[in-house]
């Protein structure tokens, strides 16, 4: 039997395939398309301390094998999440992770504290890399001191698995990864979206209401893969890799580069069943290459 399970900190995932925050809702939106309990994990849409309306429409632009989004953390706030959303998640046999975001360290801490109380949420992904909000967000993830500070503050109040999600919009992502590791993160996930822009040449206007937005999809994969590789050389904690993963081969490349698990984002929009195909494709690959456990692929790149 092929063993697909991996561990993030002490948490065991049945396989390395998770879904990326903001691209899979709260999971149940995909119920008609796949059996959620087959997934390694689900990271739900960002939660902030207060309800947020997000940015104005238009929030999306299609680009070359990718897309820009400028959603801006629209969500109903942590209290709603705790009371209304979470109870709906308990029936699925997979791990749900909250994606925690805010504009201030206090905000992050507030959300993390409240989510810490939830039995069925085994971990959070601290989003210090959202490029689509005016305050906070990505700013925390683009310098070592601020990345350290927010991680450390959350670590104090959050007792379960703490994943910190890094921004690719930096000169040296390995440095930031090291800073959050030092601050007590159990894992890092990367990459969030690359800051980009789209223009409507006919109208001579930006396509997005916010002018710039976050780039995701196959276009960013080479950059994401490089960053996962760089970070894997810099930290000891497990890495969750993402950015453009659309099939099993992509996923395997991230594992080889050093990721312990991967997240699938934008590809869910193109094929809502893509995650299942990726899980099956990884299994096929392992069988074909006579590899018994998927963990043997992690960082197994021969350089």
């Amino acid at each position: 039997m092929t063993d697909l399970s991996v561990k993030i900190n002490k948490l065991k995932l049945k396989n390395p395939v998770m879904t990326a925050s903001g691209t899979f809702g709260y999971g149940y939106e995909f119920e008609d398309f796949l059996d959620l309990s087959r997934l390694g994990g689900i990271v739900v849409k960002a939660t902030t301390s207060k309800h947020r309306e997000g940015n104005k429409y238009p929030r999306m632009a299609e680009t070359a094998l990718g897309m820009l989004n400028a959603v801006g953390l629209q969500n109903k706030g942590v209290d709603y999440f705790v009371k209304e959303t979470c109870p709906k998640l308990t029936k699925y046999d997979t791990h749900f992770f909250a994606n925690v975001s805010d504009s201030t360290i206090e905000g992050y801490v507030e959300v993390a504290e409240k989510i810490n109380e939830l039995d069925y949420i085994p971990g959070i992904e601290l989003n210090i890399s959202c490029p689509n909000v005016k305050e906070g967000g990505m700013a925390f993830g683009t310098s070592c001191p601020s990345a350290f500070a927010v991680t450390e503050a959350v670590r104090k109040v959050y007792k379960k698995t703490l994943i910190v999600k890094l921004s690719p919009n930096v000169t040296n992502i390995a440095e930031i990864a090291k800073a959050v590791e030092d601050a007590g993160a159990d894992s890092v996930s990367l990459i969030n979206t690359l800051l980009g822009m789209a223009i409507d040449a006919e109208k001579r206007r930006p396509v997005l209401s916010t002018v710039t937005g976050g780039l995701s999809g196959p276009a960013v994969k080479p950059v994401a893969l490089r960053m996962v590789y760089q970070v894997s050389k810099a930290v000891k904690i497990p890495i969750i890799g993402m950015g453009g993963i659309s099939n099993a081969t992509d996923a395997i490349e991230f594992l080889l580069a050093g990721a312990t698990a991967i997240q699938v984002g934008t590809a869910n929009f193109i094929d809502p069943q893509v995650t299942i195909k990726i899980i099956e494709g990884i299994e096929d690959y392992l069988i074909r290459h006579r590899i018994k456990k998927v963990t043997d692929l992690i960082g197994a790149l021969e350089v």
Binding site: K45, Y57, L65, M67, V71, F269, I270
Partner: protein, 273 residues
């Protein structure tokens, strides 16, 4: 309503005049239940410039032959590619999506469509027919070829046409048509789909007469299933997803529609372009 992903077989790709064409698509298993006003998300293959799926209203449904029809206007890369699809090809489609029109028992119903915005109104009229209701249908466009499938509409309702150049039906915008100007108060339900400018004008007139009016929005979408939050429209209760909480909204729910960033169908319709 269960959503499915089907590889639909193209039985027919037929021109509907001008830049419009219809695709008759056969499902590999019994069709799911589809409400008028719902839409589907179509994957466009073999085009490096098209990455995301494209949303289209469901123009017609035939449970007997297990087929649906789409009415599409060539607007850009994806629709151009789809216009070349051949009989026998397969189309990967996610459907049915969104919240469709509310169907009541009121017999006096007006359907107002502009340009390719007429698409969902055919299936709507058929479902009304099944309830014994023959709606009045008012469709408009810049010129004759911008008002596709008028003959099909005539079968299912009392159909009137307005064209800006007067080449078909009355000359002018739909809101200048005699039916609209003189008989609006006769109707108990209004449903509209098309350029936002038109829909706003229709909704305003309806609201003035306190006639319930439902409008169907066409915001750009990434996922179509309520997870990306890209397709939002501003409503009295804040941002709502057009793909799941719409595309059909009660006109009084909406605020601040942005006319010039509006619907794709605005091009053939708005005068000064």
């Amino acid at each position: 309503m269960r959503k499915v992903i089907h590889s639909l077989k193209v039985l027919e790709n037929k021109s509907a005049g001008g830049d419009n064409f219809t695709l008759l698509l056969e499902a590999p298993e019994p069709l799911p239940t589809i409400t008028p006003g719902q839409f589907c998300e179509v994957k466009v293959d073999n085009d490096p410039t098209v990455y995301l799926r494209r949303p289209f209203s469901i123009h017609n449904v035939d449970y007997k032959s297990n087929t649906i029809t789409l009415l599409i206007k060539v607007l850009g890369k994806g629709t151009a590619k789809l216009s070349g699809i051949k009989e026998g090809d397969a189309l990967n489609v996610v459907y049915p999506l969104g919240k469709g029109f509310t169907i009541s028992d009121e017999p006096k119903v007006l359907l107002v469509g502009g340009g390719c915005g007429v698409a969902p109104l055919l299936y709507m009229a058929r479902v009304l027919n099944e309830k014994g209701i023959r709606p009045t249908i008012l469709v408009g466009g810049r010129t004759t070829v911008d008002v596709p499938r008028v003959e099909a509409y005539k079968e299912v309702g009392e159909t009137h046409v307005a064209t800006e150049d007067g080449s078909l039906g009355e000359k002018g915008l739909v809101t200048q048509h005699s039916v609209f100007k003189s008989h609006l108060a006769d109707f108990k339900r209004i449903y509209t789909c098309g350029p936002e400018g038109m829909m706003k004008a229709v909704a305003k007139a309806a609201e003035a007469l306190e006639i319930p009016c439902e409008v169907s929005l066409e915001n750009t979408m990434a996922c179509g299933i309520g997870v990306c939050l890209c397709c939002v429209t501003e409503t009295k209760e804040g941002h709502k997803c057009v793909c799941t909480e719409g595309p059909v909204f009660d006109s009084t729910q909406l605020n601040g529609w942005n006319i010039d960033k509006a619907s794709t169908c605005s091009k053939p319709y708005l005068k000064n372009e």
